[in-house]
Symmetry: C2
Subunit: 390 residues, 2 copies
């Protein structure tokens, strides 16, 4: 398999946008092609779209050729959409990587987009109730917030994790997102703000939860050997891991130990030939504050159960053990499902190039990972990126 690089990308502003699905695509597409000046839409031979639920949110299916037409691309090698719910964007990058790596494609655009805001937000919430197994879980009222709330309750019971520790995750990520103009949220959130915000599903309050957000983003993949034709500072894809165990919540062996994430971490370190201590930046899937705490543990940066202490000690801040979510995370940036994985990749690309504001820049970073989970945290996916080709 050939080595693959990302040579450019762009994104729309994320938030509650008064913009159509098509508007978001065009805004991000324009930014992407402007970022890499010497690739035109006509040069692109493949397009992989990450999108989770356009059929429900905007009543539009068959979105791949729609994105192609909006961007002026006529895919002559590979064109398809990937869906892996909250991990749809990362799944799209992995697909494009397989295409370029295997030689099926030469210049591939990976594009993620989700338009989620609806005037009647109960309808948006209803759309999200079919993410878990409808026949066994959704029917019993289980959607993402109550599932992650149960996870948090159990983690608090087993390991003594506190609401204050969870709130620290939100405060950190909102702090970084104040320095990210593309982020949905631009305001500092204190621990007290999190604890005083309305209850969504106990023990999770409003600021423990990522948001319904509109957004789009794209990146361009080429064989690593060609990367320097397009930019002096490409980013290389150097490893990956993905694992999936179970689906119906009753069948999960243990909700406070994400076995597939541990498997994905091991496989990522193995394929990237790195240790966990070499990771400078980790864009982790903080759909809820408890998720990020469990991810510290699964990556092995702290002992099982001590994720709360890890954030209390400032370890996941810039300058700590590992910079977690210097982009602002899903909590600060919002979570436009299909776009999120692409937005993470794009921010890491900009980190390596020194194109992010100083207050959230991880100086000298060489290796980064991006992580997404989906469903009842039963599917986990990671990509490792590197500034240099090892």
């Amino acid at each position: 398999m050939k080595k693959v690089a990302i040579v450019g990308g762009g994104a729309s502003k994320c938030g509650r946008r008064e913009a159509s699905w098509r508007d978001l695509v065009q805004e991000a597409g324009k930014a992407m092609f402007e970022n890499v000046g010497n690739i035109s839409p006509k040069d692109v031979d493949s397009l992989i779209v990450g999108a989770a639920q356009p059929e429900r949110f905007v009543f539009q299916a068959h979105v791949t050729p729609m994105v192609a037409e909006c961007l002026g691309i006529t895919p002559r090698k590979v064109a398809a959409r990937t869906e892996l719910m909250c991990a749809s964007g990362q799944a799209a990058i992995r697909y494009a990587w397989a295409c370029v790596g295997s030689g099926m494609a030469d210049i591939a655009v990976v594009f993620g987009v989700e338009k989620m805001y609806m005037p009647d937000m109960t309808e948006a919430q209803t759309n999200m109730t079919c993410v878990l197994d409808r026949e066994w879980d959704g029917v019993n009222g289980l959607s993402a917030p109550p599932f992650f709330a149960m996870t948090a309750q159990r983690h608090m019971l087993e390991f003594g994790t506190t609401k204050e520790q969870m709130a620290l995750v939100s405060a950190k990520n909102h702090h970084y997102s104040t320095m990210n103009p593309a982020a949905h949220f631009q305001k500092e959130v204190t621990v007290e703000d999190v604890l005083k915000s309305i209850v969504i599903s106990p023990p999770l309050n409003l600021f423990d939860c990522s948001s319904i957000t509109d957004g789009a983003a794209g990146v361009i993949l080429v064989p690593a050997e060609d990367a320097k034709k397009y930019t002096d500072t490409p980013m290389y894809i150097v490893g990956t891991g993905q694992a999936s165990v179970g689906n119906v919540i009753n069948n999960l062996a243990n909700i406070t130990e994400w076995v597939p994430l541990k498997m994905a971490v091991q496989e990522t370190l193995r394929t990237a030939n790195i240790t966990r201590d070499e990771i400078d930046i980790a864009e982790l899937h903080d759909c809820f504050t408890i998720s990020e705490i469990m991810e510290y543990e699964a990556f092995g940066w702290c002992e099982k159960g001590s994720g709360g202490k890890f954030i209390e000690n400032g370890e996941p801040h810039i300058g700590g053990k590992v910079a977690v979510n210097p982009r602002g995370g899903l909590l600060g940036c919002g979570h436009p499902l299909g776009a999120t994985g692409i937005l993470q990749a794009l921010d890491i690309f900009q980190q390596f190039r020194g194109e992010v504001p100083q207050g959230r820049h991880v100086k000298g970073a060489e290796v980064a990972v991006a992580h997404n989970l989906s469903g009842a945290a039963n599917v986990h996916s990671i990509i490792a990126y590197s500034r240099d080709l090892k």
Copy 2:
């Protein structure tokens, strides 16, 4: 890129099934694993699901881990769903091929499923109105039947194609499907039956149109070098082509000349290193009778505009120039969107192994192609299969 083979597969009965989405998956999965006796679900490291619209038809998103759980698979390399509407199944095969070919996966299941029948069929039809561009075409009442009806009208005007010629396509494919126990339809349909059936969108009558159908199917992909471990008679994937041009119907240069199909044909012949005359079996996307007529032309088996004459002369029958849709096609077998591409591959696999009834067996077939289109025929995708590795 490594060569890749299909070593087994299975399908559910297709039709208006009193069965849930999950039931269909389990029925096809059981048949698949029984077909290849020495691969168990635990051996499978990757799963690609082809599904077009589960969010609307059965209000279920994030279907990949649901299929994995139903089949007893715990994907530890790659798991994702592909959507390319009517070509979703073939897109899934292409994705799995890239994964196995690039070394990202070793044993991959490709699984297609669609549950489409609804007690209120107007709701099913409504779901299909978001396939074309909703903002520019759907809003004006354009869905698949009127689009292909316009295509047929124009083809009749430009080339003198007749309703009787189109009806011959339906009669041929329904004839073959009488010998396919998995097919939705098991009855002979005469030219007269087609011409007398109710008008759907002029000039297309009921029997000119493929149907809303429930069904599921799966195949297993491994590196070609390992194939003989699992079966003496694998089938090899030897080439492919895909192209996509435009989306909104106003932007299509010409509705009676499918430029992306001609591009995909050329690329398939080039990558498979075959000529069109070496193709023994062609499973073509006969969503409507006019489609198959235009596909004869695009494959170059006859002159542009003479597709009607081609069927009139019996050329696409077994024993003619090329056996087109000896499975029974979408017209005879039904069109469970995400499953269709997999069902085509499975039938070719069974053709090569001599496991289909004599009346529709293409004896001595060595090379086959499967073709799918999607949307306003603006996306076309082809895979070439071979009995032997060249």
